[in-house]
Symmetry: C2
Subunit: 332 residues, 2 copies
């Protein structure tokens, strides 16, 4: 791979990303001040190396997955955000009152919007949260809100209609007992301890203890079941990408977005920004996924951008780098 080949490959990849049309030798003549024949020779060499492909014998070249990869690893440098992008994201990060979680999802919304790709935020199941406080808020004579709050500040609430034979005082008391006994318990264990530790105790003082138990049991159950927080933005942006011009392909990919278990696999483990092109994505052979792990202030998860293989790598990576930087800033 001499310098000229690298430049050529870079040019071809970028041209294809921009125009979605196979690149012919003629188109590159002026830029490189070489004849088309020379370019053709070089292209043939790049094809032999596995960086370029042809759709058919006389069609011009498109980058192969390996070509994209080489481009990302060696030829491209992340693009700085332009003023508008910067502005939009800054207003989010500089909003002191936004929770980190909301800031991330809002960010990804904006990114989906300005890139026309699909963004995904995968929240880690909050299994390491512990119980911080349980409380109830009476609404009227027969309705209450039960609140559960974890040490990381996640709040779940649930409205209940109180069975007739239960007194508010009993609920308040149970609440106190739970707070006394279970605060600090990992949220995954709370249901268990509620049944085996708390229930026996309230059974001694509260007549309808089964019904009271049910209420709190339900409130906690919601928590453990609500742990699949996947956030999408721009799920249908794929329609805006010109290369997806046949319905079956669109259907295939959109259906995959609906498949929660498949989406869950997007989760990233390694640090930094990682690019998975085509087959590598393990999601669909015709998409690229760029992922980045975050772990900020107790919130953990993955953000990912899903787009065509001819994604604007420099731009997306630039955006993610910026976000990571801002998140670290906010973590302090």
């Amino acid at each position: 791979m001499d310098e000229r080949k690298k430049n050529l490959l870079k040019e071809i990849v970028e041209s294809y990303i921009k125009f979605v049309k196979p690149v012919g030798s003629q188109a590159l003549c002026k830029k490189f001040k070489l004849s088309s024949a020379t370019i053709r020779n070089e292209m043939a060499a790049l094809e032999k190396l596995g960086y370029l492909e042809k759709n058919h014998v006389s069609s011009g070249r498109i980058p192969s997955e390996r070509g994209y990869k080489y481009y990302v690893d060696n030829l491209m440098k992340p693009k700085e955000l332009n003023g508008e992008e910067m502005l939009k994201l800054q207003t989010i990060f500089h909003n002191q009152h936004l929770q980190i979680n909301d800031a991330i999802t809002k960010c990804m919304e904006i990114i989906a919007d300005i890139t026309n790709y699909t963004s995904v935020v995968l929240g880690k199941n909050s299994s390491d949260n512990t119980l911080q406080q349980v409380s109830i808020i009476p609404l009227d004579n027969n309705q209450i809100i039960a609140l559960v709050c974890t040490n990381k500040g996640i709040v779940e609430n649930k409205k209940f209609t109180i069975p007739e034979n239960i007194f508010m005082g009993e609920l308040v008391k149970t609440c106190e007992i739970i707070n006394k006994m279970l605060v600090g318990t990992p949220i995954t264990k709370v249901s268990q301890r509620l049944e085996f530790d708390v229930k026996p105790i309230i059974s001694k003082t509260i007549k309808q203890y089964e019904a009271v138990y049910e209420i709190f049991h339900d409130a906690f159950n919601d928590f453990t079941h609500n742990n699949s927080n996947v956030f999408f933005s721009g799920k249908t942006n794929i329609l805006k990408q010109p290369e997806y011009d046949n319905i079956d392909e669109i259907k295939r990919i959109v259906n995959k977005f609906e498949d929660e278990s498949l989406v869950r696999k997007i989760e990233e483990n390694s640090d930094g920004i990682n690019v998975y092109i085509g087959e590598e994505s393990e999601f669909d052979p015709n998409v690229t996924i760029i992922k980045s792990k975050f772990n900020i202030n107790g919130e953990e998860g993955t953000i990912a951008i899903v787009g065509p293989k001819r994604m604007e790598y420099d731009r997306v990576i630039g955006l993610l780098e910026y976000i990571n930087k801002e998140l670290q800033e906010k973590d302090k």
Copy 2:
């Protein structure tokens, strides 16, 4: 419109709904024990009346919008749910612990799923909610959760980092003051009263009252801004409908789903189940929207099904009738 014409129209509409193919005279011969010629005469008459259309001179008939409308108003009767559908919906309605709101959205999810249409739930802006309680939950030395709860049981929560110069006691005290002064205030007015009624009071006893005010102000603000609750399910189900076979049409409709202000207009005012076909939908000339208003237990809104004009009207209307019935049941 004699009886035979009605039957014929019914048959044609239902055949087209099922097979998405223009209906020719031959196909109806056996069913009606008439020759194709007679059928053709009748079809010509139905076309003259505006109930049928042709794509071109030799193409078989398809129902016009007026034809669909006549079918819905006069020829069709709502279909009873089958066992499976019934079962799926019942498990939701009979789940005592589900809030009415969640029950509705879960229902519509199921309907989108079993019908392959798109379902929409438009919640009314909860402008008639009043403040029920404000509370704070300390997480650690410098973080709290602020909770706002309305009389209808809607809860918003927000995590805050407490500025260094503020004491927890001051927050608790402010909380008490707010609860004493503002409970019962319409949620839309709370911000105002916080500023003009509460702020002057806390300014007398709390040193950093501005910062404390900010925290509660923010918590309330979230509330008033979060009132645009539109819930979609099956947004891409349109891809499963065979008549949408060209990308531009799909794009057009999917884009409309993304346009919040357009979706907001789906809101229904009249009672009962209403069918808006094609142009009537005021959303897109190529869709039908079936809407139904709900007003249960203080929760108000619209549920709607969006699908092709050849929607399975009997099935969808049957489903919505069932849901309305169950909702009324639950309201008692």
